[in-house]
Amino acid sequence: MSQNSKKLNMVQAINLALKEEMQRDSSVVILGEDVGRDGGVFRVTEDLLELFGDERVIDTPLAESVIVGAAIGMAAYGLKPVAEIQFMGFIYPTIDQIFSHASRIRNRTRGRFTCPMVVRTPYGVGIKAPDLHSESTEALFCHMPGVKVVVPSSPYNAKGLLISSIRDPDPVIFLESTRLYRLIKEDVPEGEYTVPLDKARIVQEGKDVTVIAWGSMLHRTLQAVEEFDAEVIDLMTLSPLDEETIFKSVKKTGRVVIVHEAPKTCGFGAELSATIAEDAMLYLKAPLIRVTGYDIVMPLPKLEDYYMPTVERIKKRIEEAMKY
């Protein structure tokens, strides 16, 4: 780990991770819409074109399926592509390539060809944007064996997780909360450090209730738990899941509240509840509670604040758990 660190926001931290990995390893290349000259619509890839040239920072045509599909071919050939999908709402046309190929090429060829690729995409409610600019459908990708799903919650872990993702031998979906991009600054060391892809993080210890969150919801959760003796877990990597950290906490607290932005039905909270209900049921004192988006089409900005779990809603449900 390096000596110097700077206060960076998440955009800057991710940019730094990309820059350092590209300096370290010439097989790392970036591709996507507007990632070059424009530096990305959120400026995450700013300056990288100037530093690394247009064969490594590739402005592609407007075509998501071939962005990911070409990344698969590049990865199999020996590069480490980092593809950007401009918003998570535009990742759907790539699902065929991700599910049919990226996740399977290792298995299909018994390891002869692999897919060390990262697909970065901004996710979630956050910038008062139109239709399909606020998606949070991480659960879809968690259902697909062969893919990993990573959601940083702070500039520090964003950098470390992205470096791990780039070096990972398998495809990683890397979700960046638009709400967090410029919300918080944090000390981020220069130089390489990694945050492992199979460990959740205890953000705060507590005895009465375990609250599990990731990405932008972590911050609302931290506000909501102020009046409780709550243990807060930031998953960071959703798939593969760090069950151990969860079980340990559940055994201690006996109460669980899960918070996510996606609609409730079949959100990743379902998997967490089910895992706990199957393997740690006997430690539970209270029902497993999910605080989530509603089972509706994500509304446009005028109503979006009603859609997302608010600090109030989270608090109320924690109180409910505490009644047992």
């Binding site: 507007d34 402005d59 075509a63 008062k128 139109p130 089972d295 509706i296 509304p299 446009l300 005028k302």
Partner: protein, 351 residues
Amino acid sequence: MPERIIESFNIKRLDILDENGNEDESLMPSLSDSEIKRIYELLILSRTFDHHALSLQREGRMGTYASILGQEASQIGSAFAIERSDWIFPSFREMGVYITMGYPIHMLFQYWSGDERGMKCPDDLNIFPLCVPVGTQVPHAVGAAMAVKYKKDKAAAICYFGDGGTSKGDFHEGFNMAGVFKLPVVFICQNNQWAISVPREKQTASKTLAQKAFAYGFEGIQVDGNDVFAVYKATKEALDKARDGNGPTFIECFTYRMSDHTTADDATRYRSKEEVEAWKARDPVPRLKLFMEGNGLWTGQYQKEVEEKSRDMIDEAVKMAESIEPQNPKDMFAYTYGKLTSRQLRQMRDF
């Protein structure tokens, strides 16, 4: 059996009205004086709308907005050829089309302010809502055209998208299906030279976009997209051909996006002032003005009246949009399905 030529194509380009307001008489579409004035008034109205929308956004009274500045001839020229029984499938940058079709302007402001009620198209119009994911509206237009054909309706589907949209898989699959079934659909590409920061020549290596139609067995044509007569003529002919059962047409409107991509964009990061300046000379509005002036259809007084009327209409629409009662949060649930589910009913108790 040597190497031999088995198929040949020519790609055509249509220009009628030049930058000085001079028309090619042999190509002029038949438009009455009052129709030409109506077109001019729609150009001004749309530009006024655009201007106000940009201001409102800057004042924080509206969300991110995609300007149509410079593309008015492509939009109004084409929409002016559409019948109310036709079905329209826009992308997200067709405010001029909505306005030409008579879509309530206050609803457009309402939509751009983040209220989905603005996209509840009036019953006497068939305009699909703004399509955010680029190119995905192409299959919808094709499907509507299949329905038109099956029902033997006298109508056509018309589909709008940008130069960037031509790169998407759905463009291809939709075009191909339109060709196979010879469907009554007209595809209009506003090639405004940019897809956010990606210039047209990096979007695709083909010399024109129009030529892409030949890959699907139907005709493509490039028109001067800043020439309202050329756009109108090409669209009218294509729609007539479609309604007559003679299949699809692809029209590339060669135009320019004078503004930033959206209010969230800064185009100076990726394109030169000189380029923008050069296109200013090709502005679609002054050339129609010059034409009209030359033909005794335009005076300074007329201009003042048109501008005033436009401003009034837009002011009125903004006022209406801003005085609409806010949605009840419960409305979030109401249109997920035809009927609320039991889960939703429980979730709604939060409100």
